[in-house]
Symmetry: C2
Subunit: 176 residues, 2 copies
């Protein structure tokens, strides 16, 4: 689903990849949409683990944690050969127009992601590491969305350039 | 294709929407991919018309043209009820992993878009309207990609908030 998209991942392919009978799918999920919601929650769980090791690791200065978080995201995207991108971003464009349940879950998960980034930005503003005095929630939304846009461009270019660029500008002009 | 995506738009639906016999499709296009390339070129043509009326309208100061350009993009997204989003962004995430021809065309079109924005940024730097001295091409890539990310978030939220936020931060911290 991450590599091929939601529509292109049929129930037969999903059960074949899992090595279970096709008929068993609906014993576990009432619909492919319900499966998609579960996949999204698992993916966000991995993002939170990554955030806990970097963004929320209070042993380091806040601005350093923000940098470490985006560097860790970069490493995870490199592991996908700059092709898979972000599952949340992929489903946002592909599925949110047609599934209200997935759209609503994505909205909730993006808010959770932005909130964690905002908390760290507010801390860096309080310590003076970030001098930009704009509202931390606004800056966090901006950073998360700009990141998703860079990941989109990365998928088109199949290299890290857009990620390098978004980090360079974020940390020189916005989170500075 | 803009509303439903590439995969979800079958040849039968395309020809039905155009009011022509299904069989005639392949008289005009060697494949659905070739049709997708044509759709992208048309879409980019509309983007260029919008850019000519705003970004490239030399009768106004450069920074004002940049603002007018992103405001005009906002109006076109409002016309799509905050749901359709940007066709280039949509196909970037949905199709670029599976179609090399579409991926390569998107790369080319994004470069063209960034180049026009970079030209206007460089002019605003030269006149002192933008004091940020970073490379204009870098700032343009950043702005275009941040915009695409905001459009992605807009599709999830179904309102203009992410677009308002990206413009607020771009023009207060990056193109400032």
């Amino acid at each position: 689903m991450h590599a091929n998209g939601f529509q292109a991942s049929g129930v037969a392919e999903i059960t074949a990849a899992a090595g279970v009978p096709k008929g068993s799918f609906y014993n576990h999920f009432v619909s492919k949409e319900a499966f998609g919601l579960e996949v999204l929650d698992r993916y966000f769980g991995e993002l939170e683990e990554l955030a806990d090791a970097t963004l929320n690791n209070r042993s380091r200065p806040a601005l350093e944690r923000l940098r470490a978080f985006f560097d860790a995201l970069t490493a995870s995207l490199e592991a996908g050969n700059w092709v898979q991108g972000c599952l949340m971003g992929n489903l946002s464009l592909e599925v949110s127009p047609s599934s209200e349940a997935i759209r609503s879950r994505l909205s909730h998960l993006f808010q959770g992601w932005s909130f964690q980034v905002a908390t760290c930005i507010a801390e860096a503003q309080a310590t003076g590491e970030i001098r930009n005095r704009s509202n931390a929630a606004l800056l966090a939304d901006f950073a998360v969305n700009a990141w998703e846009g860079a990941v989109l461009r990365m998928k088109v270019e199949r290299n890290s350039r857009a990620l390098d660029e978004v980090k360079a500008v974020l940390f020189s002009a916005v989170l500075a």
